[in-house]
Symmetry: C2
Subunit: 319 residues, 2 copies
C-alpha cells in the first residue's frame, strides 16, 4: 500500500472548521453503570440530524466543491445513511443532489431521502454504480462515495478529533468497521493527538472480512451474500484500498461480536443510556460489554447511527 496518500490531522482539523455549526458536536456520555477501572463513555452520532455520523463526511465533501461543481450538483448511490447525509448536506449548500437507490430499498428510506429535497433514481441493485456514473457523466455532477474519498474520511475523522479534545486521556477507542471511512478518520485523529490510546475496530462475526484482511495483510473479499447475513446493515460494506491502507497503518487491533451480542447491546443502550442505536451503531458497545480480552481503561465506544427498524428495536427490548 506504499504510495497511497492518507488523510492527515490537518485535513481533519480543516474539515472540523468547515462543518462547524452544521453538524452537532455530540457530547461524550459517561456511563455510571460501567466499571470504575474500565469506565465507558459513549459518542452518540445517532443524534446527528439524519441519525448518523455520515453527515460529517458528506458535508465536508460538498463544502470542498467549487462554485461550478456545486452548480452541476452531486450524485451518490446508496440506500442507507450516506444517501440521507448527502441529501442533507447538499440542501444546506443549495446544491442539487441525485441519489441512485436500488429498487428493492425500503419505502421509508426512499421517502426520507425525497423529503430532504434530493432527486431519487430507482434502478435494479446490480446497476447502482453504473447508473450513478452515467448520471455523473451526463450532468457533469460530482460523484460523492460513502467512504472511498479523502474528504469523506477527513469529515468522519472529526469524530476522533472531538473525542481527543474532550477526553485527552482516553486509553481505548472502539469504532465499528464497515467500509472503514469512520475508523480511518477516527484512528488518524486519535493516534495523532493521544499517542498512548489504542484504537480497535469492531465487526460482526458474520461480516468480519476486514479482520481477515488485516490478519492476511491484504484485502480478502467476502461475498455480498456472506456479509448480508448480519443484522448490522450499516457495516455490510467492505473497505476500499484507500481505507484499508489507513486501517493497516493505524488500527491496533480488530475484534468481532456475535449477532446476539449486538441485540443485547441495542437493549442496553436503550435502557441504560437512553439511546436508540441501529445494529451497526451498537457493535462497539457490544464489544465493550462482551470482549473480556480488550485492554482495560478509559474507553470510548462510537455509536455510529440510530436508524433502526422500530420492530427490531422492540424485539431487542422484549428479549
Amino acid at each position: 500500500m506504499d504510495g497511497v496518500e492518507l488523510v492527515t490531522l490537518e485535513d481533519i482539523r480543516a474539515a472540523a472548521e468547515r462543518i462547524r455549526g452544521a453538524v452537532i458536536n455530540t457530547p461524550l456520555l459517561p456511563c455510571p453503570w460501567s466499571s470504575a477501572d474500565h469506565p465507558l463513555w459513549l459518542k452518540p452520532e445517532s443524534l446527528q440530524a439524519i441519525g448518523s455520523f455520515k453527515i460529517r463526511g458528506a458535508f465536508n465533501a460538498v463544502a470542498r466543491l467549487s462554485a461550478e461543481e456545486r452548480r452541476r450538483g452531486v450524485v451518490a448511490h446508496s440506500s442507507g445513511n450516506h444517501a440521507q447525509a448527502l441529501g442533507y448536506a447538499a440542501r444546506a449548500f443549495g446544491v442539487p443532489a441525485v441519489i441512485v437507490v436500488p429498487d428493492n430499498a425500503p419505502a421509508v428510506k426512499i421517502e426520507a431521502t425525497l423529503a430532504l429535497g434530493a432527486e431519487v433514481v430507482l434502478v435494479p441493485m446490480a446497476e447502482r454504480m453504473s447508473a450513478a456514473e452515467a448520471i455523473a457523466a451526463e450532468r457533469g455532477a460530482t460523484l460523492i462515495p460513502p467512504f472511498d474519498h479523502l474528504d469523506v474520511i477527513a469529515g468522519q475523522g472529526t469524530v476522533g478529533l472531538e473525542i481527543a479534545t474532550e477526553l485527552p486521556d482516553v486509553e481505548l477507542v472502539l469504532v465499528p468497521v464497515g467500509g472503514g471511512g469512520l475508523a480511518s478518520g477516527v484512528a488518524t485523529a486519535v493516534k495523532a493527538l493521544c499517542p498512548g490510546a489504542r484504537v480497535i475496530g469492531v465487526e460482526p462475526e458474520l461480516a468480519a472480512d476486514t479482520q481477515e484482511s488485516l490478519h492476511a495483510d491484504r484485502l480478502v473479499r467476502w461475498t455480498n451474500e456472506q456479509r448480508a447475513r448480519t443484522i448490522a446493515d450499516g457495516v455490510r460494506t467492505e473497505p476500499s484500498e484507500l481505507t484499508f491502507a489507513h486501517l493497516q497503518k493505524l488500527l491496533d487491533d480488530i475484534v468481532t461480536v456475535s449477532e446476539d451480542d449486538i441485540r443485547r447491546a441495542i437493549a442496553t443502550l436503550a435502557t441504560r443510556a437512553r439511546l436508540v442505536a441501529e445494529p451497526a451503531g451498537a457493535v462497539a458497545t457490544a464489544a465493550y460489554l462482551t470482549r473480556t480480552d480488550l485492554p482495560r481503561g478509559r474507553t470510548v465506544a462510537v455509536i455510529t447511527g440510530g436508524n433502526i427498524d422500530p420492530q427490531l428495536l422492540a424485539a431487542c427490548l422484549a428479549s
Copy 2:
C-alpha cells in the same frame, strides 16, 4: 403569593458554574422532520448520567452545603429520578446519602439507587415524608426536596440558560410541569434572556392540576389517585407554593396532552430523533406534535428524562 422569594437569573448563573463538568451541557438537536415555519429543537436531558435533568438541581443543592453539612449527609424521599440524582450528586462530593423509598417501589429503581452508593430505607408509602424527616433530625442530615427548594430550582434553571445561550432567537419553549421545579427555573432563565420568547407548560390531561390552578389563580389540589391515572409518572406530583409562585408569574400558558399523544410522541422520539424518552419526558414533544393552537416559530421541547420501562417503550413502538 406576594412576598415569596423567587429564584433569579444570577442564582441560575451561579448554579451553572457549580455544575460545570459534572453535568452534561446537552446539545439542542434540530429536527429536520419539523416544518420550516415551526422548526423544532429537542433538549435531551434524558442523556444525563442518571437519565434526567434532576441531576442539575441535586448537584447544585449538594454543592451549596457547608463542609459540616456535607459531613452529616443528605436525605430525600423519592422512588424516582430525584433519588438517583441525589445519590449521584452525593457520591460526587463524597457525601453520605439516605434515600427513603416506598416499599412498593420497583426493585430495579431500588437497585439503581443502591448502585450509586446511597443508603436505601424502605418504608410504607404513607410514611415516606415522616421517615425522611426523622432521619434528617436524628442524623443532622439535610433534607433535599425534589423541587420545593430555591437551590434545586436554580439548578434546573440551567436547562433554560443553555437553551437561551445556544438559541438566543428561540420563540417558544415547551416544558413539562409536575412539581414545577424545572418549569420555574427554565422560565426564569428564558424570560430574562429572551424576553420575546414564550414559555408554555405542558401537563397530561389526567394530571392537569397545575392548569386548573393557574386558571383559578390559586393552588387547586387533585387527589393522588387522580394524578396517578397518567402513564407519565414523572409529572404526577403537584407544585408547592414556591414553584406555583414562579409559574404564576412566568408561564405564558399551560396546555395538556392525552395519553395517546404521549405514547405516539415516545414512538416519534425513538424513530425520528433516536431518543428514548420516558412518558413525562415526551409530553412537551407531544404538545408540539398535536397542539395546533400553539404559537408557531422556533420551538424547543425539553425531553426531561428517559427512564422508561422497556416493555412500555416496546409497546409504543409496536402500536
